[in-house]
């Protein structure tokens, strides 16, 4: 197969599969996830290059991948909707110290994840010290402490 088409197909496949994997899974890189990512990159690179070790194929693949990334990036800045479709949007998980459980279950985040983020980023101890918790685009949870309690 033509390396440019190969590069495009692999790029889009990985984009779709990572988009559906859910955000939380991406940010929490456990040891196993790291191994999984390494395996994914290894198998992809094998399929991309195969037995073709030529410089031209390497250049074509790199240019295709970075080019696609650039075009998508450009589209994202031009159109807010495309940006949201590709990268996702933030999601509020805690509102005024209240857990928004339906949202949490949909986003695959549990109480422990929120409290972990609260401890790690703000040094908070209890849920009522959290004003808002937001699941950001990159899968991290940002915590806004309740100033009247803390």
């Amino acid at each position: 197969m033509n390396p440019v088409i190969k590069g495009l197909v692999v790029y889009l496949f990985i984009l779709v599969i990572f988009r559906f994997m859910g955000k939380k899974n991406l940010s929490e890189t456990t040891t196993f996830d790291l191994v999984l990512l390494l395996i994914v990159s290894e198998t992809t690179s094998n399929a991309l290059t195969g037995n073709d070790y030529s410089l031209i194929t390497c250049f074509l693949l790199v240019a295709t991948m970075t080019g696609t990334d650039y075009i998508l990036g450009w589209l994202k800045t031009r159109n807010n909707r495309i940006d949201k479709i590709i990268d996702g949007a933030p999601l509020i998980l805690v509102d005024e110290g209240k857990l928004l459980l339906p949202r949490m279950s949909k986003a695959n985040v549990d109480f422990g994840d929120i409290m972990e983020a609260a401890r790690m980023t703000q040094g908070l101890e209890t849920l009522d010290q959290i004003k808002y918790a937001v699941l950001e685009k990159d899968g991290s949870i940002s915590i806004i402490p309740d100033r009247s309690v803390v």
Binding site: F20, G22, G50, G88, A89, L100, K106, Y132
Partner: protein, 228 residues
């Protein structure tokens, strides 16, 4: 007459994030609540009014989607795009089902090496085992068994068929090879207890590959699909 929502949008500053939900979804004329909301939202004066705009916009949008996820109203300047989240959550199980089916199909051999792919053809004394589905660049086995009493077996591949493959090795070694017309023939000298010949093939292109394989007098049609 309904007001033009787009022209209201720029007046609403931060609230425009929420107002884009309504564009493209015309309000039903008969809905009294919506009419009331439109009246009050024309001039966004004061914080309370802005919140009201947000609430109605989002709720209206939610009603369209029929989702149980409640919108929240915070002081944060954040564009949640809840409708996209809801769409993604609806799509996620579908996507995972498709991926699951893909993996299951792979397990069963729809992409080679499995029950759906394996095929055995028997014609007279000749038995051929082959895969219906090949993958580009992956070495595959084509096993031919000839149970006739003769000591010589001739396996002929039409050139149109064999051009799809690179024959990486043949086991046992043929005593000679011949090219006649558009056919490549491998001639084997087989003992009475060793009647099996194995061809290791590496697909060289993608798509359909088919041809009439001849083993002595038997003619067997082989057809494969080679995945990229």
């Amino acid at each position: 007459m309904l007001p033009d929502l787009d022209s209201n949008q720029d007046k609403l500053n931060q609230n425009q994030l929420y107002c884009h939900y309504t564009i493209g979804h015309p309000f039903p004329e008969g809905d009294a609540k919506i009419r009331e909301f439109l009246k009050c939202s024309k001039i966004p004066a004061g914080n309370g009014q802005k919140m009201r705009w947000q609430k109605v916009c989002i709720r209206f949008n939610m009603a369209l989607k029929g989702s149980k996820i409640e919108p929240v109203f915070t002081g944060m300047e954040i564009d949640e795009s809840l409708d996209l989240h809801i769409k993604a959550w609806k799509l996620q199980p579908v996507a995972w089902t498709v991926i699951g089916i893909f993996v299951l199909a792979g397990l069963l051999g729809l992409f080679g090496s499995g029950v759906l792919s394996r095929s055995v053809v028997k014609q007279g004394t000749v038995t051929i085992e082959y895969e219906r589905f090949y993958r580009y660049g992956t070495t595959v086995k084509l096993t031919i068994r000839d149970d006739s009493v003769g000591t010589q077996t001739e396996v002929g591949f039409p050139s149109a068929y064999i051009s799809h493959f690179n024959i990486t090795s043949v086991m046992p070694e043929p005593s000679r090879t011949e090219i006649s017309g558009d056919k490549v023939s491998y001639i084997f000298k087989l003992g009475p207890r060793f009647r099996t010949m194995v061809f290791y093939l590496e697909p060289q292109d993608v798509g359909n590959a088919s041809g009439l394989l001849s083993v002595n007098d038997a003619k067997i049609h082989l057809s494969h699909f080679i995945y990229p």
